[in-house]
Symmetry: C2
Subunit: 330 residues, 2 copies
Amino acid sequence: MTKKYLLALLFITQSMVSCSVADDVDPLPSWNKGSSRDSIIAFVEAVTDKTNVDYVPTIERVAVFDNDGTLWSEQPLYFQFYYALEQLANAADAHPEWSDQEPFKTALGGVRDDILALGTKGLVEIILTTHSGMTNAEFGQSVKDWIASAEHPTTQRPFSQMVFQPMLELLDYLRANEFEVYIVSGGGVEFMRAIARGIYGVPPENTIGSNLGMKLEETDSGLVLRRMAEINFINDKAGKPVGIQRAIGRRPIFAFGNSDGDLQMLQWTAAGDGRSFAGIVHHTDADREWAYDRESHLGRLDKALDEGRNRGWTIVDMKSEWAVIYPPER
Amino acid sequence: MTKKYLLALLFITQSMVSCSVADDVDPLPSWNKGSSRDSIIAFVEAVTDKTNVDYVPTIERVAVFDNDGTLWSEQPLYFQFYYALEQLANAADAHPEWSDQEPFKTALGGVRDDILALGTKGLVEIILTTHSGMTNAEFGQSVKDWIASAEHPTTQRPFSQMVFQPMLELLDYLRANEFEVYIVSGGGVEFMRAIARGIYGVPPENTIGSNLGMKLEETDSGLVLRRMAEINFINDKAGKPVGIQRAIGRRPIFAFGNSDGDLQMLQWTAAGDGRSFAGIVHHTDADREWAYDRESHLGRLDKALDEGRNRGWTIVDMKSEWAVIYPPER
């Protein structure tokens, strides 16, 4: 047996082994067999197969995911809001005037429906009060400290464990197929960055979100980036395609959302030249998670549900299509 | 000889070959031997050597480069301005009123010093007039069409060939050492994106710059991103660290600029916790390129030159340290 022959044999054997491994391991074990799972796999196999007319070069394989309600739960309040409420509570002693000043009085009361009833103006004031003034680094550390111990008020699970196991598998599956995976959240970009690497494996440069004004400031301890009490950009609805263009400079070929806030991102993705994938998580599981759509105050899914059905987008029925919702308890 | 032994031998031989190739090929052939070249190589070798106290994991190897005057020439006017002037000239027939209306009259006259004398207000009006109204896709195509044929007014080289050969080598050297390379330009981000992949190998998601307002719009031919006649963000001076944070979410460890507009980006990079590199291209070569610094209207290098000297940053003397300026003529 010559060395050349042996090497040829080696490479053939390696190829066979690697094919066989890929075929044996189910990349989406928490997705029940069904139309959503099929459509995801059919799309990924088509755009990664060089012989397929829909093949997409790796550099153009951009996938975008909404966060709240798509990658993790968003009920009974967006999780970022629990962070804000905890910060308010921590600061309340230093602000006795809040006890009879709105929106702080209601926020400190902690009743979900009352808090939602504060409306956009009140909610924005709570966010600006708790998310600005400090440096960007201080804010990120504060979010990391919070996520390390904070628990969800109704499930008592750590918020970090209320991510959707089927979506974690989908992120991994796409990355294994050389997609660049981005989070495109209506939530604050620096809040997301502080947690996204740890819970989703998504690095800060792939995390897009709403943001506040920020300025470079010279302090006694050197240069800092200071967070300002003003909204700079809302990465929601028609803002999502703008946020995507500003950060990525390309149109995605794969998008997943769960609410009307994601409609334009899904439309923008679906309107590209080549084959694309648009998916919606439909919260239909009142037992294991929450069930809500057209009438919900948070994460309303109405227009996007109609458009998704009309256009044949992939609409995930959480109750029947997800074998598990959350990762196993640690 | 067993198969196992043969394989071991194969891998050892491959390692030896790859080491030997790496040692033999000079990664920076257009950099003369000297302090700038030495400091670049010393930095890269330190942060990529796992046994070195200054080792930096690949995920944190973020390098940022200014564009105008750092990666390509910027005299006698920023090249983006030649694009704007050509667009104005193309549109002039449809705008007879421009012949006696400023800043258009002076811009169409084409005299460099008169154009610079228009000041910020006039220059911004020229940019807004020529860079907004169309869709983002149309704008990108227009820039690509322009760069494919436009020539520099004094050298008659294509603008795309007025990139600095030593800097092209530096970009490649950093990427070969698993740095993620970003452009952080005061110029327009979509202008840069239309050309940066072709001339620098930098993809759109790694290109940061100034930008205009942008909105999603429904048209007869579908959704478009429309460029608005308003400035959204100026990515210059104290704006550069803000632009970097918004887009990357991390502090760079390596930065290169050439003017006072890059001072804060260099300071921000140098103020990181670990070892960092801050470099300045000093335009000292009136024969092969241009010579200018403290008194220049474009690309003024004054405060950053002082600070760079005080802090021991790497200041490249273009005349003595660069063996060639531009790539060989095609």
